[in-house]
């Protein structure tokens, strides 16, 4: 199956998705999957696109960048790799939340600690808030914790790394959030 991955980054404004989808349509492409987000003023999106007529990616890329360049956006395309490797073993969903003053190196240290237990981050958000005139960062990691890892072990590792940066941390099974907030 002929597929490619398209990423588009740049200043957010109305009409971006309309431009992208129209150009893909005129090349006979079909959008299979898409995710987009906006961070402050910046738009970012990733598409998985089916290219049944095998149009050259350079051509499609050129058409996209010509149209989007004037909108302070850039597009990047690459062929979709072979099927993914075998899925990871069974895991449990946990949510790690840290809170504290934003310091350089925090995200690197925290994510390295998460990776040290083979936990896979499936979703990550960082929210900067002002607390008493100081930038405070709340980081929310949704992770898949392998069944062989104990949540107390994960908590201990997280507490150790967060203590170094003066961060508060909580580690909770994901179900509690859905249970409380969703009908």
């Amino acid at each position: 199956m002929n597929k490619f991955v398209l990423s588009v980054i740049g200043k957010d404004k109305p009409g971006i998705l309309a431009q992208i989808s129209t150009i893909l349509f005129t090349h006979g492409c079909n959008i299979e999957d898409v995710s987009q987000t906006i961070l402050q003023t910046e738009f970012a999106s990733i598409f998985i696109v089916l290219n049944p007529d095998a149009h050259p990616l350079e051509k499609i890329g050129q058409a996209l960048n010509e149209a989007l360049g004037g909108m302070e956006l850039s597009a990047h395309l690459r062929p979709m790799a072979a099927p993914a490797p075998a899925p990871a073993g069974p895991s449990q969903p946990f949510v790690i939340t840290t809170q504290g003053v934003d310091k350089p190196g925090t995200i690197s240290a925290v994510t390295t600690a998460i990776a040290s237990l083979a936990c896979n981050v499936v979703n990550f958000r960082a929210i900067i808030t002002q607390e008493n005139g100081v930038d405070e960062m709340i980081m929310i990691f949704e992770v898949d914790m392998p069944m062989g890892v104990d949540h107390r072990q994960l908590r201990q590792v997280m507490q150790e790394v967060c203590a170094r940066f003066g961060l508060g941390v909580s580690v909770q099974h994901r179900d509690i959030f859905e249970t409380i907030h969703r009908v």
């Binding site: 949704e142 909770q172 249970t179």
Partner: protein, 457 residues
């Protein structure tokens, strides 16, 4: 994918608003342990309790830890001892009480409930022996709680039992006078007692229940107060209907926590999951108070005019939100107003905004009754019985549970401070108007007949 608000508001409820699971209570039936032989009976019930409950505390801690929700108390409720231990006299009953206490200590639960009797219509031999044993049993044990049901809507009020309980409370206070009458803080007199209460001191496992069952008591008055405060910050003109809706939504969230924890604990222990008791149960800590909710709703203090209406709204909204959140709701389910266990209520009682009579009026619309009320030591047994009878009448006529946990503190008078410690808290003694002038009524005994279920105005 979770959204940020779901994560942040959950964390805030736990860290800043004292959201917790107040109690996971393992109900254990002792009915099949019955024996005429006292050592055999105590041996059997000790083994039954310590076997079934040996992992209770560890499992509750493990599950609470996994979800990041503290399970504050782990407790045990057993079949009414007056039934299970019916052949024994009061000395035997005291031995049973000691066994229960020892079992509670050995499995490290903070309370065990069920040293009780159901005497709404009459008292059998075992019931009398148990009630007679209560003062000594509460004196020589630490973790054991006792409850006696003296009235129901279908049977009426057993005034002989009400009279006896007044004297029993006095005796329990006297036996524990060196501890401000602490024994009475673990003794409740009920009307319409539910069979599945997880909260102490009224927890017991009803005779209609399974062999073992997990019942959960959720709390969260702090969460409700903060939710009201936030709603008023966003919309200072919010009317009461809107605030009732806020309470309802919040009660839903709080109850969901109890549901998930209870089901998981029951699954691991391989015990049936019983009910969630969706009560607002305060502790003597700032920010964990039912009384503070009244102030958030715009009243000067709990007990001032408007308090009964506010409590009615609060109680109903808690039930509505909670009933939707749980597949099985039971127990007391509503708002508790225990005087000494709630800093704010204790302060209102000390400040004179809340008097005994207003407290009684409020119990007509909330889930329990005259709870943890310290009274002058010279309050007569007959006046205690009369106060209990009034409270039972409210429950009987309104087809609801009411209860009285009264502590006539030996040697102390109205305005004096009493300190029970821990969750039982501290308070000033509330004055009793017209003490000692109800004996003529109470001493008549007999029964107040069950009320009509029609013509209900």
């Amino acid at each position: 994918m979770l959204n940020d608000r779901e994560v942040l508001s959950t964390l805030s409820m736990i860290k800043n608003e004292n959201l917790d699971v107040r109690t996971v209570t393992l109900g254990i039936s002792l009915l099949d342990c019955a024996s005429h032989d006292l050592p055999r009976f105590t041996d059997t019930i000790y083994k039954r309790i310590t076997t079934l409950a040996k992992d209770l505390v560890a499992v509750c801690d493990e599950v609470g830890d996994r979800y990041g929700i503290p399970v504050v108390n782990k407790r045990i409720s057993v079949s009414p001892i007056a039934v299970a231990a019916a052949p024994f006299d009061s000395r035997g009953m005291v031995e049973v009480a000691k066994t229960l206490d020892q079992a509670a200590r050995d499995v490290n639960v903070d309370f065990i409930g069920g040293f009780g009797a159901l005497v709404e219509k009459g008292m059998a031999k075992g019931d009398l022996a148990l009630i007679e044993a209560i003062p000594e049993a509460l004196d020589v044990t630490h973790r054991m709680c006792s409850s006696v049901n003296v009235a129901t809507t279908r049977a009426g009020i057993n005034m002989d039992a009400v009279g006896l309980m007044g004297r029993t409370i006095k005796a329990a206070a006297e036996r524990t006078k060196d501890r401000d009458g602490l024994g009475c803080a673990k003794l409740v007199v009920f009307a319409n007692i539910p069979e599945d209460v997880p909260f102490m001191a009224g927890a017991y496992l009803g005779v209609g229940e399974a062999s073992s069952v997990i019942n959960v008591g959720v709390s969260g008055p702090g969460v409700v107060k903060k939710a009201i405060d936030r709603a008023l910050q966003d919309n200072p003109g919010a009317h009461l209907g809107e605030l009732a809706d806020v309470i309802k939504r919040t009660a839903y969230k709080v109850t969901r926590v109890g549901e998930i924890i209870g089901r998981e604990v029951a699954r691991i222990l391989a015990v049936e999951f019983g009910i969630v008791d969706l009560s607002l149960a305060p502790t003597p800590n700032v920010g964990d108070s039912v009384g503070e909710i009244f102030q958030s709703l715009g009243l000067g203090a709990i007990g001032v005019p408007g308090s009964t209406a506010a409590l009615a709204m609060l109680n109903d909204a808690v039930k509505k939100g909670g009933a939707f959140a749980s597949s099985r709701v039971g127990g007391l389910s509503g708002a508790f107003i225990p005087v000494s266990e709630d800093l704010n209520i204790a302060a209102a009682a000390a400040g004179g905004q809340l008097c005994l009579e207003k407290l009684e009026a409020m119990t007509a619309v909330c889930s329990v009754g005259l709870d943890m009320v310290a009274l002058p030591g010279d309050t007569t047994a007959e006046t205690l019985s009369a106060i209990i009878a009034d409270e039972m009448a409210i429950g009987m006529i309104n087809k609801k549970t009411t209860a009285a946990r009264l502590i006539p503190v030996p040697g102390k008078k109205a305005g004096d401070k009493v300190h029970f410690g821990g969750l039982l808290g501290e308070a000033e003694i509330m004055p009793v108007r017209s003490n000692g002038v109800s004996a003529g009524f109470v001493s008549r005994g007999g029964a107040i007949p069950a009320p009509l279920q029609a013509l209900i105005n």
